[in-house]
């Protein structure tokens, strides 16, 4: 633990921690308040809630009634708007007879409002319409034509409609009526498939949070009970139209609701407090503890918080999206840590935080050689453990990928998806983060292993580990993938150190990029393989259904149908005779939900059919079987028959008698249900999924085409794929091996009809003679690459988010964010390629869809043509089109010949249909589409195609007029067909594969080329920058190092070169001038200094000569004096010469490690003896050594001390201190002399400057030169009259280059 820090306390003083704790404090207060409120509310007597519940129930009831009223009002306004359209008024006024503008106007409004609109003229004749038809409501239309607004609710077995009739007035005269039909409800469970939006009850129910029902005749409100509140509903004409009832809110229920809300708030607050506290504690409180303590603390705190969130069911409790829905994804990992995609994300983020906050990233200085001091056996043991752990973790990543695929209902391999779905993206992101973290861990382990037992040992150990791994049965990660992953990491490890010892990998961005690269190497092949495995697994599940029909389930379906029929028939004596009762019962049954072809019948005692509803393509077969069931049979008879196609059609039928209420003496009626388990069909020749449970494993759920082939005794029997040759037989070895296997199933890769397939063969039945093969086309490599590109997209998204986070974080911290030229170039090229790709993809989808519609239209055109001719032939024998009748068997024949269903409209009414039950039941509108009528009947078009809807299910309908020989229009034939979504998807897939493939190549090329281009563009500039710095430091010899470039950069280089040469010339000239000046100055100074002693010398010698010649009596004294003076002056000349030589020379340094304290002591000792100055020498603590020439440094110290002594006049106190600073040794000399004036200070270190009378003024210049050469600093602080302090700073350790 670092000295001077107390963990857990000092971090509280920072601003950030105080802010965080303030937030936690406020949240805690709120939490306590919520807890207190909850406790208080829970303790209150239940009576309080009762009153509130009553009030709430009444509010709900009024809201539900208001919703109905609002709907009526909206319908009335819509009708009024339609009535105000000029084209409508013109027609109704008789100003025009062209009805086509009416259809245009009505069509636009009806489609946009989702309603049905009808226009009636003053005679009550329907002149224009669009949308769903319904009960004519003649009475209400009559009222509207008489000037009053009327409304009523029309019901059939399928839906309820609000019908509003509004008069159209012109000059106070009623000229027509507008009828608006708004669908209110659709019988469950058809609702989600036949309505594009929720019914009114569902909408209001969702808004209020309680069940709501709108009841219209013949349904009525049952006997009032405490569970419901009801009130009547009135129409616009104040006539009662029905009732609304809402589930009463009970006191306990309301209390539970309120307490539940408080609990949710408490959970949210508690979670927020927990997360903030955990992060604050980890980030701040553990900042100053040891790495081990930090790691353990992070582990406990973060994962403790995660577990608490798990127990609180957060954040799934409040988020509630598919992200937290186990139906989408759920795994056993961690006992609930990944019970949904969102939970897994939270757990992965927690793991990531543990890594980032709890484990310090290794750096070059932290990689110790400690391992080399440990015993070899221990190092080897730890290395083995490290390798084993890494391989085990790698398998864990493979298992997590498998879980993502197998524990989810998402389709990962579907190339029709342009981008991954959001939940899919989250799961892939989880896998990427796990694999990236594994790569970091494995990288560290590999580094340690390499350091301990070197590369050779590591390779041997790794090879052994991979071999052991390969011995598993079907390892989740194959050996080649594992080997490639380890190899890539080894290469990165090797490349991460260069000769200088710098580890570039270990900077944050490159580390992360390397981890992501390694994760891609590991993840992508594993994902690809697992997707293939999963496709096979799905096919096996489907195969199990094909060969093992669930008879019990189908019996259940029949029993369920009988139960519903019995219930519906038995509730009212009139129901038995109600033609719609069969449909109503079917709509509520499992047969409807599951989409089986079925027949529901109510048969009278004499066998007369009272009510019947049949649906599905197998009803012909089912009818024969069902008709054979005796009416008094109680139970279920199962008959197996093989119809068309490969799948066997199994028919189940049952019949039960139902007594007539309330007369038990009357003979009972019989209800009969027949269900055929074959291909569900709505329209002949097609296979839509509109009626069935959409998530059953069906052929449509496979994005790779599946072919089902049946073999009998090894010979081809039938196949769903016409490309399969009928000569194809089962291989002999398969025929022998298959029955012997338990269970009798086997996979084969084979080529059939020239195409590669993966086939799954399974024996059907006990005899073993029948084998069903389910063949899945091999997915081309390009398709698999498209799937992997989507994963790469998640990588790109992750990198982009990371980049944005870094930029935002730096901006918030006030740092300037700069992007390099390469970054900008890469980003620009990415955008330039992405935008056109997006446009192309969008265009591609639209184009493929348009082409599909076009091809469908062509097919419909052919079909309608044939049918129209057939009907025209029949019509020739009818007296009038209104009398046109076609026998059902003839209708069936026409439909079979054409291979499609058809309808014939006479006027606007349906006259003939090959699927009458769909129209009589109200499932489909029996009125011709308004736009088709306008185009074909009014506009005279020979062919018209449009897209129609059954709720959200789209299908295409072609219309053609039927013209008799006389040229008269008999009617309009329509042919519906299913929009082949699977063909559309395959078309899109092929198109997208090409586009994605091209884009992937472009992207890859861009990723390779861009750095090269950027380097090419930026390199000359970077080189110039580097050279400019060198020039700034004085290096002007750069011509040979200039980059080669052309264009503008080349001109810049040339200009730079010219500038540098000019600078060099100028510098040379300046140097020369300065040198000359310096020499001149030096010579002047030398001459001056030499002249000084020479003058007294000359005078002295002259005086001596004169006294000698004069014979002066004191000649000996004079001789002595003169010689002394001369010698002194000669000494002075010698000193001048010595100093000059000392400044000019370049001494040979002997650099050794020196003790600065010792050098200073030696320098001080010289002066202790010769002067009266008292020296206070202080050396603080152990001093680091310095690299210097001892003598040179000592002379420098002597110079400084001498100056100080001279400044103090040879007496006083001088303080000398030697101390250590971070990376430095500081020596300070403080005298109390005269001080240095401010004007002198700038010149102190100039060579020729001196304040003394003797000397060259070179002392301090020499000192500065010495210190500069050592890489140190020298500063002088002085105050006149007080003294001077000279501070030298010398680097400890080596002298920097």
């Amino acid at each position: 633990m670092p000295t001077g820090s107390v963990p857990g306390v000092s971090w509280l003083s920072s601003t950030r921690s105080r802010r965080a704790l303030s937030f936690v404090g406020i949240a805690t207060v709120l939490l306590l308040g919520a807890w207190g409120l909850r406790a208080y509310e829970a303790s209150r007597p239940p009576g309080r809630w009762t009153a509130l519940a009553e009030e709430r129930s009444e509010e709900h009831l009024q809201s539900a009634a208001r919703a109905f009223t609002e709907l009526q009002r909206a319908s009335r306004e819509l009708a009024s708007d339609v009535g105000a359209i000029p084209a409508v008024i013109m027609y109704l006024n008789g100003e025009t007879t062209d009805r086509r503008p009416l259809f245009d106007a009505v069509g636009r409004i009806a489609v946009s409002s989702g309603t049905g609109i009808e226009i009636y003229d003053s005679q009550g004749e329907l002149v224009s319409w669009c949308g769903q038809s319904g009960d004519a409501g003649r009475h209400e239309i009559g009222r509207a034509l008489s000037g009053s607004i009327a409304s009523f609710v029309s019901r059939n077995a399928v839906s309820s409609q609000m019908v509003t009739a509004v008069p159209v007035r012109q000059n106070a005269r009623v000229i027509g009526a507008i009828v608006v039909r708004q669908t209110i409800e659709v019988a469950s469970p058809l609702r989600n498939r036949f309505l594009g939006r929720e019914g009114l009850a569902e909408q209001v129910s969702g808004a209020l949070g309680v069940p709501v029902e709108y009841l219209f005749p013949p349904d009525t409100v049952r006997t009032p009970d405490s569970l419901w509140r009801a009130m009547p509903l009135v129409g616009l004409d104040s006539v009662r139209v029905g009732d609304v009832r809402v589930a009463a809110t009970s006191g306990p229920g309301l209390s539970d609701q309120w307490l539940g809300f408080i609990s949710d708030v408490m959970c949210i607050l508690g979670s927020v407090i927990l997360i903030v506290l955990a992060l604050v504690t980890v980030r701040m409180a553990l900042e100053r503890v040891s790495p081990l303590q930090r790691f353990l603390g992070t582990l406990v705190i973060l994962w403790g918080a995660r577990v608490v969130l798990l127990l609180l069911d957060m954040p799934g409790r409040v988020v509630g999206t598919p992200l937290f829905d186990p139906m989408v994804y759920a795994s056993t990992f961690g006992g609930g840590l990944a019970r949904s995609a969102g939970d897994m994300m939270v757990s992965v983020v927690t793991l990531l935080l543990t890594f980032v906050l709890g484990i310090a990233p290794a750096t070059c200085t932290q990689v110790r050689e400690a391992g080399t001091r440990r015993p070899t056996a221990l190092r080897l043991l730890v290395s083995v453990i490290a390798v084993a752990l890494v391989l085990l973790l790698a398998r864990g990543v493979g298992a997590s990928v498998r879980s993502i695929l197998y524990d989810s209902t998402l389709t990962f391999g579907d190339p029709a998806l342009l981008l991954p779905l959001p939940v899919m993206g989250v799961l892939l992101l989880n896998a990427i983060l796990l694999a990236a973290m594994l790569s970091v861990v494995a990288f560290e382990a590999m580094r340690a292993v390499v350091r301990w037992i070197r590369w050779t040992g590591a390779a041997i150990l790794g090879g052994a580990g991979v071999t052991l791994y390969a011995l598993q049965d079907e390892p989740l990660i194959t050996v080649p993938v594992l080997g490639a992953w380890l190899l890539v990491m080894a290469m990165i490890l090797r490349m991460s150190t260069d000769g200088g010892g710098r580890q570039w990998l270990l900077t944050g961005p490159t580390r992360i990029l390397a981890a992501l690269l390694c994760s891609a190497v590991l993840l992508l092949p594993v994902l690809d393989r697992q997707v293939g495995d999963r496709d096979r697994s799905k096919l096996e599940t489907f195969a199990a259904e094909v060969v093992r029909p669930v008879d019990g389930w189908l019996k259940f379906i029949v029993e369920d149908g009988l139960q519903h029929l019995t219930t519906v028939v038995g509730t009212s004596p009139n129901n038995a005779a109600d033609p719609a009762v069969a449909l109503r019962a079917w709509a509520q049954s499992a047969a409807c939900r599951e989409g089986y072809s079925s027949i529901f019948e109510v048969v009278g005692p004499d066998g007369t059919p009272l009510s019947r509803f049949a649906i599905g393509g197998q009803t012909g077969v089912a009818e024969q079987v069902g008709g054979a069931v005796p009416l008094d049979t109680v139970g279920v008879l199962r008959v197996k028959s093989i119809g068309d196609g490969v799948s066997a059609v199994r028919v189940y039928a049952g019949s039960v008698p139902v007594p007539v209420v309330p007369d038990p003496d009357r003979p009972p009626v019989h209800v009969r249900v027949t269900v055929a388990a074959g291909e569900e069909q709505l329209f002949r020749g097609a296979n839509p999924a509109v009626l069935r449970g959409l998530s059953r494993e069906t052929l449509e759920s496979f994005y790779r085409p599946i072919t089902i082939t049946e073999y009998r005794d090894g010979l081809f029997l039938r196949s769903t794929n016409k490309a399969f040759p009928f000569t194809h037989v089962l291989p002999q070895d398969l025929r022998e091996s298959l029955p012997a296997r338990v269970p009798p199933m086997e996979w084969r890769s084979e080529v059939i009809g020239g195409s590669p397939y993966e086939s799954f063969y399974v024996v059907r039945g006990d005899e073993g003679r029948s084998v069903v093969g389910l063949s899945m086309e091999d997915q081309p490599l390009i398709m698999r690459l498209v799937g992997l590109v989507k994963v790469v997209f998640v990588y790109v998204l992750l990198l982009a988010c990371w980049g944005v986070t870094i930029v935002v974080r730096r901006r918030l911290a006030g740092e300037k964010v700069q992007f390099t030229f390469r970054d900008r170039l890469l980003g620009m090229m990415f955008l330039v390629t992405l935008v056109p790709l997006g446009v192309l993809l969008l265009y591609s989808q639209l184009d493929v869809r348009d082409r599909m519609i076009e091809s469908t239209a062509l097919r419909l055109e052919d079909q309608t043509s044939g049918i129209a001719q057939d009907i025209a032939g029949i019509g020739e024998h009818a007296d009038a089109s209104s009398e046109l009748e076609v026998r059902p068997d003839r209708v069936e024949l026409i439909a079979s010949n054409a291979g499609t269903d058809f309808n014939l409209y006479v006027g606007n009414e349906l006259r003939i249909s090959s699927r009458p039950e769909l129209y009589t039941s109200g499932l489909l509108d029996p009125r011709i589409s308004g736009s088709a009528y306008a185009e074909v009947v009014l506009g005279g078009k020979w062919f018209w195609v449009e897209t129609e809807h059954i709720g959200q299910f789209r299908y295409v309908v072609g219309y053609r007029p039927v013209i008799d020989a006389a040229g008269g229009v008999i009617g309009v034939v329509s042919v519906p067909t299913v929009f082949r979504q699977d063909e559309l998807d395959r078309g899109l897939v092929a198109r997208h594969a090409v586009l994605f493939g091209v884009y992937a190549v472009v992207l890859l090329a861009m990723l390779i080329i861009t750095p090269v281009l950027a380097h090419r563009f930026a390199s000359p500039v970077l080189q110039l920058t580097s050279l400019a710095r060198a020039v700034g430091k004085g290096d002007l010899d750069i011509s040979r190092r200039l980059p080669r470039a052309d264009g503008e950069i080349g001109e810049l280089v040339h200009a730079f070169d010219s500038m540098t040469q000019e600078i060099a010339r100028s510098r040379d000239s300046l140097v020369k001038v300065e040198r000359e000046l310096a020499w001149k100055e030096m010579a002047r100074q030398v001459a001056h200094e030499i002249r000084n002693p020479l003058t007294p010398m000359k005078l002295s010698i002259q005086h001596l000569r004169r006294t000698y010649l004069d014979g002066a009596p004191d000649f000996p004294d004079i001789m002595e004096r003169v010689t002394r003076t001369t010698i002194a002056q000669i000494d002075a000349l010698g000193r001048i010469a010595a100093e000059f030589a000392s400044f000019a020379r370049m001494p040979r340094r002997v650099v050794v490690a020196c003790d600065p304290g010792e050098i200073v002591r030696e320098a001080v000792a010289l002066f202790r003896q010769d002067t009266a100055v008292r020296f206070e020498l202080q050396a603080e603590g152990p001093l680091p050594s310095i690299q210097a020439d001892r003598e040179e440094l000592r002379r420098a110290c002597i110079n400084i001390i001498r100056n100080g002594v001279q400044a103090m006049g040879g007496a006083g106190v001088m303080e000398v201190r030697v101390s250590a600073a971070p990376g430095l040794v500081q020596i300070s000399f403080t005298d109390h002399g005269t001080g240095i004036p401010d004007e002198v200070k700038p010149k102190l270190f100039q060579p020729k400057f001196s304040t003394k009378t003797d000397g060259m003024g070179l002392g301090l210049a020499i000192v500065k030169k010495t210190i500069d050469d050592l890489g140190g600093t020298i500063t002088i602080e002085s105050t006149v009259g007080k003294g001077t302090t000279v501070v030298i700073g010398i680097p400890a350790g080596e002298i920097p280059a």
């Binding site: 809110t249 229920g253 081990l292 793991l351 079907e474 697994s537 199933m745």
Partner: protein
């Protein structure tokens, strides 16, 4: 050696690896043995899947010798108690489930566990009883009725459960409640 692991960079790295295993590696799901018995490919038998099964206390242990009736009884009692554990013990690796309020579909046993948990958590069971037992082509099934209280409202559902033999275990392949 403890000191080495505790104080050195290498030791902390090893700790981090162990953390990774604890949280991810050993408990990652593999396919249960039942799926292997059906011949499906690419299924590991590694230690992790065995370890996983041993850590899920209510799975894979009691059902080895249970007959169909015992399985139906366990389902009935589990649903009646609002407890998913007795049911999850007998789930096949892929189960077709359709519950009221959601679309039907095939789910892994893990998903089925959590879906059923969420379903039962939102409902208070009032009564659950199988009324009909049958068997066709060696595939036993049971149907019945269940009542739940949801937000004070009674909800009546029909139940259908079908089993098939996987190895020596009877496992649930279909579970419908609507």
């Amino acid at each position: 050696m403890v000191y080495f692991f505790a104080s050195s960079q290498e030791g902390r790295n090893v700790f981090s690896i162990m953390l990774y295993i604890l949280l991810m590696g050993a408990w990652s799901p593999g396919a249960p043995p039942a799926e292997q018995a059906e011949g499906s490919g690419a299924l590991p038998q590694g230690a992790t899947s065995q370890l996983r099964r041993s850590l899920l206390p209510s799975r894979g242990k009691e059902s080895v010798a249970a007959g169909p009736r015992e399985v139906f009884t366990a389902v009935e009692q589990g649903l009646a108690a609002g407890n998913v554990e007795p049911v999850s013990t007998h789930l096949d690796s892929r189960v077709y489930m359709q519950l009221r309020g959601s679309e039907g579909g095939y789910h892994s046993s893990t998903q089925a566990y959590y879906i059923l948990s969420a379903f039962l958590k939102a409902r208070k069971p009032a009564s659950v009883a199988f009324t009909t037992y049958g068997e066709t082509d060696g595939a036993p099934y049971a149907t019945g009725a269940a009542s739940f209280i949801t937000r004070g409202m009674r909800e009546d559902l029909q139940i259908y459960v079908a089993l098939h033999l996987s190895g020596d275990r009877w496992v649930i392949t279909h579970l419908n409640m609507y």
